[in-house]
Subunit: 327 residues, 2 copies
Amino acid sequence: MMSEPIPLYLDCDTGVDDAVAIAYLLGSPSINLVGIGTVSGNTSAAQAARNTLDLLALAGRDDIPVAVGAHDHLTSAFGGGAAHVHGDNGIGGAVLPHADREPDARSAVELLIELSHRYAGRLHVLTIGPMTNIALALAADPTLPSRVAGVTSMGGAALVPGNIRPAAEANIFNDPEAAEALLSADWDVTLVPLDVTMEHTLAEADRDRLAAAPAPLAAAVGAMLDHYLDFYVPIYGTRTSALHDPLAAVLATGAITPDRAPRVPVRVDTTDGPGRGQTIADLRGQRIATRDHEGVRTRVVLEVAAPVAEHLMGVLLGEVPGPDAVG
Amino acid sequence: MMSEPIPLYLDCDTGVDDAVAIAYLLGSPSINLVGIGTVSGNTSAAQAARNTLDLLALAGRDDIPVAVGAHDHLTSAFGGGAAHVHGDNGIGGAVLPHADREPDARSAVELLIELSHRYAGRLHVLTIGPMTNIALALAADPTLPSRVAGVTSMGGAALVPGNIRPAAEANIFNDPEAAEALLSADWDVTLVPLDVTMEHTLAEADRDRLAAAPAPLAAAVGAMLDHYLDFYVPIYGTRTSALHDPLAAVLATGAITPDRAPRVPVRVDTTDGPGRGQTIADLRGQRIATRDHEGVRTRVVLEVAAPVAEHLMGVLLGEVPGPDAVG
């Protein structure tokens, strides 16, 4: 007796951890991945679309439209990506079979707006890259939020250091103006910051299991993670993968719910000062109890106690029922 | 066999917790309080000087010069203080015997510069208010840092929320430009942020012991704390006093040393954005071990494990040897 899968639009910059998130979403019974838009971030929007198409082909999911989105950000040109983290091709140098399919003729903004009409009131939006496409869609159609059931976004840092800058996380830093637009629109947002994404990890043994899996998608994800695990050695002290984008995906499906996620005002620093790209959440007065601010629709995830990696591995390895098992 | 007491210049905005810090410093055998400058913050610079003179008189320490410093901040006028925290007169509405003595004829800047010559190479500076006087002294005499052994400052918030703003602590927020000047000068700075000052507290029972103490200064401090404890009820859930300024004083005397205080770059947000007045410490890469950045002279105190309140109470109640017992 499972409920109808949630129609989900994914906005991504694929990216090693984006690839893990995509593989997870494809295996998750509780969502229906109805469209994917790409944006520049970990790699260019065009390369992200190529990587996404190739991943979907491995899973036999050529039915899901992939639309290229913004190459440049609202107030800055794309800076070239993060090859030291995600490899030259965005997916850790892994070579996937080249899918025949080309990106959708629509832009990511057109795809998102169209899906918001087709699934009006039910569509969920998951962003795991810079929020440029969402800001452009909000500008193109300010009624968009009225048709979206909720937004989940990987981004920001509340009470932990940033990654790309002392106080800023990369998705927000790459387009602070877009993040401010997403966070100030009138819809329910679940912000999944470094506070929780750094606390859930895959280990070398997990990667080995993925790389040895018979399913081509799981094996490809395992191959991609090789490079990514190296990047985290100075941070965790061992070959380890933070679960940035996968955690946002897991929370978007509802398979795991946060243990602490107060609804509090969040502002993005769009100045040119030392805090540019920072998310400033008002977390004062939360010491004795978690407290939601009246009328605020953004919740900031601060604690997820459930074993995220275990759940993620189960779905990636096909050990939980996939979409075909639903209904 | 104690070493020579450290000559210490205190810059304060007295203030209930400033008063606690002053009482502690007067009772601490390891420092010699050679001068006090006042600045607007918790209350006006003039009222802070009045409160300080009255406190010193209670302790029979009319020998310590008290100089009035900046009424206004570098780029903004004094905003009127924090009567809801510190009472209308800055010391929780407590009425002290009015000391005959008037403030020193010198300004706080003049006093600080003069002391830096008299105690060249040995003077320690402790700031527990906005850093306006220090910035003005640095502007008046850029050679000042060469004669100062070290600076300890209560201020900022590294990985915890601010108090006066979502990300900003009041001492820094009240004069961000001055804080940036202090933190970018070439001297050793120990920054004592809310991360640690909120974790050390006095309880109602501590206040009762102070209020009942035979020593007039301890009793006065106990009386002042009455109002202050109320302010913290919504924050801690009980009548409790955070030890903001007292903790900075305890660390300045060297009686207690921090357990974690990495030397890292700290920038102050001097923009007009949502992070104005924030201290942005680069605390990335500290997960597996505490790591000092090469060439950085500012350490940010993140952990103090010792029982600060117990030590503080001992000194305030005269249960440890006072300055007269030295030598």
